[in-house]
Amino acid sequence: MESIIALGIALISAPLFPGIILKIKALFAGKKGPPLLIKYYTLAKLLRKGSVYSTSTTFVFRMGPIVSCAAAVMVFLFFPFAGIPPLLSFHGDAVVLFYILGIGRFFTMAAALDTASPFEGMGAAREAFFATLSEAAVFVVLILFYRMNGSLSLAAYFSGPHAISLAGPQGALLLLVIVSLFMTLLAENSRVPVDDPATHLELTMIHEVMILDHSGPDLALIELGSFYKLFFYAAFIACLISSPIQAGPFANTLLFYSLLTAVYVAIGITESITARLKMNLVPKYILTSFALSFFAIILTMEIF
C-alpha cells in the first residue's frame, strides 16, 4: 500500500519540480518568474488541444510520444522512493530499466527523422551521439554500485540495510559519483550546459528540435515523459546523498522530497550561472563524467 502511495505521489508531483528550476532561474535573472505550477498549466493546455500532423509522417511519428512516456513510467514502478520498497523489483532490473529508457529514445529519434525536417534530423543525430556516451557513463556507475553492494536493482541500491549513500562505508567515492551523475543528468535531460530548453534557435537545440512537429496531447505525453525522466535521475542523486533514516515512511518521504528539491535547485543554479558549451565540447563534458565514475571504480580496486 505504501508503495502505491509513494508511486502516486511521485507520478503526480513530477511536473511540479521543473517549475522550481524556472523559479530559480528567474530569481537569478531578477525576475518574478512563472508560478510554481506552470508545468501543470502547460500540460492542461496541451491536453485540451488537437493536433496537426505532417503529411510526411507515418505511424512511427505517433509511436514516439507513446513509447517515450511509457518507458519513463515503467522506470517509476521499480524505483524505491524514499526507501519505500517499490512495486516491482528483481536482480538485474537496473540494466533492464536503462535499456527501456533506450527504447524510448530510439522511438523519439525515429519520430524526429519521420518528419523529413533537416533540423529534426540534426537533433536526432546529436541525441544519438550524446546518449551513447552518457549510457557508458551510467553503466560505469552501475559497475561501481555492484562492487559496493553486490546488487543490480534499484530497490537494493537505495533501500534495505545495505543501501548506498554518503554515510556508508565508501562514502568518499560517492562524492565523485554524485558529481558524475549530476553531469549525466544535465546531459541526458537536455539541460544547460549541454542543451538549453529555453533556446529559440533550432540549429542549437538537441531535444527540443526533435519534438518540433509534435503538438497537442502528443506533446503533452512527451513533456510528461521528460519530466519523469528528469525526476528519476534527480531521485537517483537524492537517494545517494542520504539513505532512509530510522523514522518511518512519513519522515523519510519528507527527507527525500527535500533532498530532491535541493537537487532541482542545484540544477536551476547551474543553469543560471553556466553558459552553453560549444557542441564540439559536449563529448568532452560527458567523458569527464564518465572519467569521474571510472576513476571511482579504479579506487575500489584494492586501494581503499
Partner: protein, 651 residues
C-alpha cells in the same frame, strides 16, 4: 540420427530436382521450396527425437576404406542446428519472389542447388565427430557458399568479392587444418577423443590457429575483410543465409575446439574478449559510417559476432577463474545471441533485399519514405532494427542481458579478470548505444521521411512470398522477447554437454527468465495503456494534416532532409584513430558558385593495415622474383624436373 540424415538427403534432393526441371521455372522453384522445407521440418523432428532420447545420436561409416566418417549429435550441435533448420526454409521461401527472372532459369536452378548443398554442409559441420569429417564438411560449406556469392558472376564487383571471399575462406581453412594437423600429430589419430590430454603449449598453438581460421569465417575483427565485400555482391537471400546462419559456424568451431581442448589458461578468454570487444565496437562504428545498406548490415554482423564472442569469452573467463555462474550465463548469452542474430539479421537482409529489388539502389541516401509504399517491409524492418539494437521487449535484449549478467558476475573477481569484466560491460553499453544510433539511421533515412529520388518514390511492396518470410521471422523476434523462459531454459539445457559445464544445474537461473518476461510484458502493457489513453485524449479533437514545419523556410525539398552520412558523421569522427574518414570538398570559389561537391568515405583500418603490412611487401617480394618467369616452356619443364628431384632427394 537416421532421421536427421534422411532430412539432409531430402534437402539435397530439393537441390538436385530444380536442376533437372529448370525448364519449368515456377515448378522448379516450388519443388525446391517444398522439399527443402520438408527436409528442415524432418530435421527439426529428428532433433526433437534425439532430445527426448528416443533416437540414438551417433552414426559412422567408412569412406574409401581409409577414413571413417563419424557423426554425433550432442546438445551444442543440436543448438547450432536450430537456426539452420529454422531460418533456411524461410530464406528459400523468400527466394521464390526474389529470384524472379524466368530468363535465367538455369542460373536460378544452380543457385538453388548450391543453396541446398550449403544447408546440408552446415548441418554436417555441426554433427561432424572426427577431424576428417569436419574438414570435408567445412570445405563443402566454403565452396558451396562461394558459388552462391557468385550468382551475378558477370559483374566485375561480384568477381572481385568472390575472389576475396575464396581467398579468405581458404586461408582460414588452411589455419584450421593446420590446427588439426598439430592436434593429430600429437594424438596420432583423426578422432576428437583424448584431445584434452595434449600438453599445454600444443593446446594453445592449436587453439590460436583454429581461432584465426574460424574467426575469419565468423567475421571477427581483423579477419573480417571479406564480409563487407561479399554481402553486397551476393543476392540478398544468400546474404541472409550467409550472415544469419553460416558465419555462426565459425562461432560453433571456436566453441567446439574450446570444449575439445578444455584448457583453463586465462590467455584464451582474454584473447577472445579482446577480439570480441574490438569486433563489437569497431563493427558498429563502421556500420554507422557506411552508406551502402547491405555493407552496413554486413558490418553490423561483425558487431553482433563481437557480442557473441564477448559472451563466449566471459563464459571462458568464468571457467578459468572458477566462477561457474558467470561461465553458464556467458555461454548461454552467447548461444541465445546466435539464435537471435540468425533471426533478425536474416530479416534485415531480406528487408534490404526487398528495397533493392524495387528501387534498384543500395545507397541509403537515395532512398527515403518507403514505409508508406512498403508497409510490411517497413514494419518488419522496424521490428528487426529494434531487436538488433538490443532493446526490450524484443529478443536481442534477452541475450544481451544474459551477457551483461555474466559480466556483472565477473566484477567480483580480482586483477585482470575484473578489468576484463568491467571493460566488457562498458563495451556492451557503448555497442548498444551506437547500434541504436546506427539503426535509427537506417530506419529513419530509408523508410521514414520523404523519398530522396524518383526510384524511391516509385517503390512498390515486394511479392507475397517475401512478405510472408519477413513476417515469419519478425514474429519469433517478438516471441522470444516477451516469452523468453522456454528459450533461456533451452539454451541452458544446450550447455549440458559442454564438459566443463556439465554439472551446472538449472537452479542458478532462479527467477531471471520470469523476471525478464515480466518486464517485457509489463512494458508492452504500459504501452497498450498509453495507446488507449492517447485515443481517449484525441476523442473529438480537431486533427489536421499539413506539411512539416520548415522552421521558417517556406519551400523545403526532399533533398534538404538530413542524410544518413551527416547523421552518423559526428559519431564516426569521435572514434577517429580507429576509423579513417576521407572527405573531398570542392570548395566554393566564386561569388555566384555554380557547382560544389562534397563526398566522404569511411575506411576500415583492418583493410588499410592488411594492404600496407601484407599485400604491399608481398607484391614487392614477388616483383623481385619476376626473373623466374621467362616465357620459355623448356625452362619451365626444367623447373619442374628440378623441383621433383629436390623433393625426391630431401623428402
Amino acid at each position: 540420427m537416421h532421421i536427421l540424415l534422411t532430412a539432409l538427403s531430402l534437402i539435397l534432393i530439393g537441390g538436385i530436382l530444380p536442376l533437372l526441371m529448370h525448364r519449368w521455372f515456377r515448378l522448379s522453384k516450388i519443388v525446391h521450396i517444398t522439399t527443402v522445407t520438408a527436409g528442415c521440418l524432418t530435421g527439426l523432428y529428428g532433433l526433437y527425437a534425439v532430445w527426448q532420447q528416443q533416437a540414438e545420436a551417433l552414426f559412422s561409416c567408412s569412406w574409401l576404406h581409409v577414413f571413417t566418417l563419424a557423426f554425433a549429435l550432442d546438445s551444442l550441435s543440436m543448438f547450432f542446428l536450430l537456426p539452420v533448420f529454422l531460418v533456411s526454409p524461410l530464406i528459400a521461401l523468400y527466394g521464390y519472389h526474389y529470384l524472379d527472372k524466368p530468363t535465367a532459369s538455369w542460373r536460378v536452378a544452380v543457385n538453388n542447388f548450391f543453396f541446398s548443398l550449403l544447408i546440408v554442409s552446415m548441418a554436417l559441420v555441426t554433427v561432424a565427430a572426427n577431424i576428417m569429417t569436419f574438414a570435408l564438411a567445412w570445405e563443402l560449406m566454403s565452396l558451396s557458399s562461394y558459388f552462391l556469392v557468385m550468382f551475378d558472376f558477370e559483374k566485375e564487383e561480384t568477381q572481385r568479392a568472390g575472389y576475396l571471399y575464396l581467398l579468405f575462406t581458404q586461408t582460414g581453412a588452411l589455419c584450421i587444418f593446420a590446427a588439426f594437423a598439430v592436434i593429430s600429430s600429437h594424438t596420432g589419430s583423426l578422432s576428437f577423443a583424448h584431445i584434452e590430454q595434449l600438453p599445454h603449449g600444443v593446446k594453445l598453438v592449436a587453439f590460436f590457429l583454429a581461432f584465426v581460421g574460424f574467426g575469419s569465417k565468423a567475421g571477427v575483427f581483423p579477419f573480417h575483410i571479406w564480409l563487407p565485400h561479399a554481402h553486397p555482391a551476393a543476392p540478398s537471400h544468400v546474404s541472409a543465409l550467409l550472415s544469419g546462419v553460416m558465419i555462426k559456424m565459425g562461432i560453433y568451431g571456436i566453441l567446439r575446439i574450446y570444449i575439445l581442448l578444455d584448457d583453463p589458461s586465462p590467455i584464451i578468454p582474454q584473447t577472445v574478449l579482446i577480439c570480441g570487444m574490438l569486433s563489437g565496437v569497431l563493427g558498429v562504428i563502421y556500420a554507422l559510417g557506411k552508406q551502402d545498406i547491405k555493407r552496413l548490415l554486413a558490418y553490423s554482423s561483425i558487431e553482433n559476432i563481437g557480442i557473441i564472442l564477448i559472451g563466449a569469452g566471459l563464459g571462458m573467463l568464468g571457467i578459468s577463474s572458477g566462477n561457474r555462474i558467470m561461465a553458464a550465463f556467458g555461454f548461454a548469452g552467447c548461444l541465445l545471441h546466435v539464435l537471435n542474430h540468425a533471426l533478425f539479421k536474416s530479416l534485415l537482409f531480406m528487408g534490404s533485399g526487398a528495397v533493392l529489388h524495387t528501387t534498384g539502389t543500395r545507397h541509403i541516401d537515395q532512398l527515403g519514405g518507403l514505409m508508406k509504399n512498403m508497409p510490411v517491409t517497413g514494419r518488419t524492418f522496424l521490428a528487426g532494427s529494434v531487436a538488433i539494437s538490443g532493446l526490450p521487449p524484443l529478443n536481442g535484449f534477452i541475450s544481451e542481458f544474459l551477457i551483461y549478467y555474466a559480466g556483472f558476475q565477473g566484477l567480483g573477481l580480482h586483477g585482470a579478470a575484473f578489468l576484463f569484466s568491467m571493460s566488457t560491460i562498458i563495451a556492451l553499453a557503448v555497442i548498444g548505444g551506437l547500434a541504436s544510433g546506427c539503426f535509427t539511421k537506417v530506419i529513419g533515412v530509408v523508410f521514414l521521411g520523404e523519398p530522396r529520388s524518383v526510384r524511391a518514390q516509385k517503390a512498390v511492396e515486394c511479392g507475397r512470398a517475401m512478405q510472408a518470410a519477413m513476417i515469419l521471422l519478425a514474429l519469433p523476434c517478438l516471441l522470444i522477447g516477451i516469452w523468453p523462459e522456454p528459450f533461456i531454459r533451452l539454451v541452458f539445457a544446450s550447455l549440458h554437454d559442454m564438459s566443463p559445464l556439465a554439472t551446472i544445474s538449472p537452479e542458478i537461473l532462479g527467477t531471471i527468465p520470469q523476471n525478464l518476461a515480466m518486464a517485457a510484458r509489463l512494458f508492452l502493457g504500459l504501452l497498450f495503456v498509453t495507446i488507449i489513453l492517447r485515443r481517449l485524449l484525441y476523442r473529438a479533437k480537431p486533427i489536421s494534416q499539413s506539411s512539416t514545419w520548415g522552421c521558417g523556410f517556406t519551400q523545403p525539398t526532399a533533398r534538404m532532409q538530413y542524410t544518413g552520412t551527416s547523421y552518423a558523421l559526428s559519431m564516426v569522427n569521435f572514434h577517429r584513430p580507429f576509423v579513417r574518414v576521407r572527405t573531398q570538398y570542392s570548395g566554393i570559389t566564386k561569388i555566384f558558385p555554380r557547382w560544389a561537391g562534397y563526398a566522404s568515405k569511411v575506411e576500415d583500418i583492418a583493410e588499410i593495415g592488411l594492404h600496407r603490412m601484407l599485400i604491399q611487401p608481398l607484391i614487392w617480394v614477388l616483383d623481385r622474383l619476376r626473373w623466374i618467369q621467362h616465357g620459355h616452356i623448356q625452362l619451365y619443364i626444367s623447373y619442374i624436373i628440378v623441383t621433383i628431384a629436390v623433393l625426391l632427394l630431401v623428402v
